[in-house]
Every structure is written in C-alpha cells, then in structure tokens.
C-alpha cells in the first residue's frame, strides 16, 4: 500500500540553525500538510499546500517556517532559525482530494526534531 515517507526520522540541531524536513507524499495525492506534535500534547496543524502554494496556515506557522515542493515528489518544511520550542514530532500528510470529497489524510511516520 502506498505510504507517505519522511526523512530523517530524527534530527538533532543547535538552536538558531536552519533545518529542512523532507517528505515524499503518496504519488497521486494533490494536497499536502504539515502537522506537529509536542511531546505529550495534541497534534497541531501547521500548513496545507495545494497547486504549488499555501492554501492555509496556522498561527504557529510564522515567518520562520516555509514549505516548498522543489520537484514532482518531495515536499519540504524549512525552519529558518530554530528555537528550543520547535522541538516536536513533525508529521507530513497527504490526501487525494479535499475533505469535501471525503478523502482522509494519510500521515508519514514523522521526524522527531530535537533542538539543543
């Protein structure tokens, strides 16, 4: 069964450094998402992306964050200058059609980001 793949599985970075988290969505999916989950807390929406542009973003997704689909398969999340509070599990998800057509989002295994 097709799946969303994320790399790396764990990233350790010094505060202030830039990180890029990578995702390969399911190949025929058109909608891509990033979520994060701080340890012990709920899964929180960051951003959704369709047709090469952001369709929605949350308050968490400030100027330090950016997303890109650099080629036909990868979808990346960049954090420009990491802070301690960025430490979390970051999940990428994709779906074939928007929820109005009743297609669920499928999640990758996540990248655990640890900021030192």
């Amino acid at each position: 069964e097709p799946e969303v793949t994320q790399t790396p599985s764990h990233q350790v970075t010094q505060m202030g450094q830039e990180v890029i988290l990578r995702c390969v969505p399911i190949s025929n999916h058109l909608y891509f998402y990033w979520y994060r989950q701080i340890l012990g807390q709920k899964v929180e929406f960051l951003v959704s992306f369709y047709n090469n542009e952001i369709s929605e973003k949350s308050e968490i997704f400030d100027d330090q964050f950016s997303v890109e689909r650099p080629d036909g398969s990868n979808f990346t999340l960049k954090i420009r200058s990491t802070k301690l509070e960025d430490s979390a599990m970051y999940f990428c998800a994709s779906s074939a059609l928007p929820q109005g057509y009743r297609q669920p989002q499928h999640f990758g295994d996540g990248t655990r980001l640890s900021i030192l």
């Binding site: 709920k42 929180e44 959704s48």
Partner: protein, 113 residues
C-alpha cells in the same frame, strides 16, 4: 474557537474487555469526523464519519457519529494487546479552505494480558 475533546484521557483494560472511547466537538461548521490510531509513530486512519447514525465497522472496531449531540464513539470489542495505542479524534470543519483537521488530545489505551 473550534474544539475537540476526547475522554477518557487514558484507559487500562484487560484483554477481552470491550472499550468505548468518546469524542465531542464544537466547530463552526462540520464536514466530517475521523478516528486515527497512533502507535509509536504515524497516526493511521481508522474511520471517517460524515452522516449521523450510520455505524462504520472494521473487524472489532466500530464507530458512530451523533450530530445532534456533537459527538462520536469508538468501540473496540474483545480487546487485544495490539490495540494498545493512542486513539485520536479529528474534526474537519467545512468553514476552512485548507482542509486542516482539529485534533483532540487523544485517549491512551493500554490493554494488559
């Protein structure tokens, strides 16, 4: 503010028991409610519910939506140790265009042999 609340927060049962997990929501508009199972890593999709009163079943798991009560339950019968996980409820409000979900904090289920 849109909100999704799950109860109980955690549950410990013995193998063979039946459990019922609850999810209630307050959203501006409602399109669908989804249940996910989260073990060590990715949430994996279980059910999507859009119509009130129609039960979705998959093996020992079943779920039903009550739009009048703004809630859903997830039932697991004859629990097994492999059912141990965090069960997440997510709501898709139709008011947004980005198709984000609002997640609850989850119910942590532990099934002991």
């Amino acid at each position: 503010e849109d909100k999704v609340v799950q109860s109980p927060l955690s549950l410990v049962v013995h193998e063979g028991d039946t459990v019922t997990l609850n999810c209630s929501y307050e959203v501006t508009n409602f399109r669908s409610l989804l249940w996910y199972k989260q073990e060590k890593k990715a949430p994996t999709f279980l059910f999507m519910l859009t119509s009130s009163g129609i039960e979705k079943k998959s093996g020992r798991l079943s779920s039903i939506l009550d739009k009048k009560e703004l809630s859903s339950i997830l039932n697991i019968t004859a629990t097994q140790t492999g059912d141990s996980a965090i069960y997440l409820c997510a709501v898709d409000p139709s008011s947004n265009t980005g198709n984000q979900f609002y997640f609850g904090t989850g119910t942590s289920l532990t099934v002991i042999p």
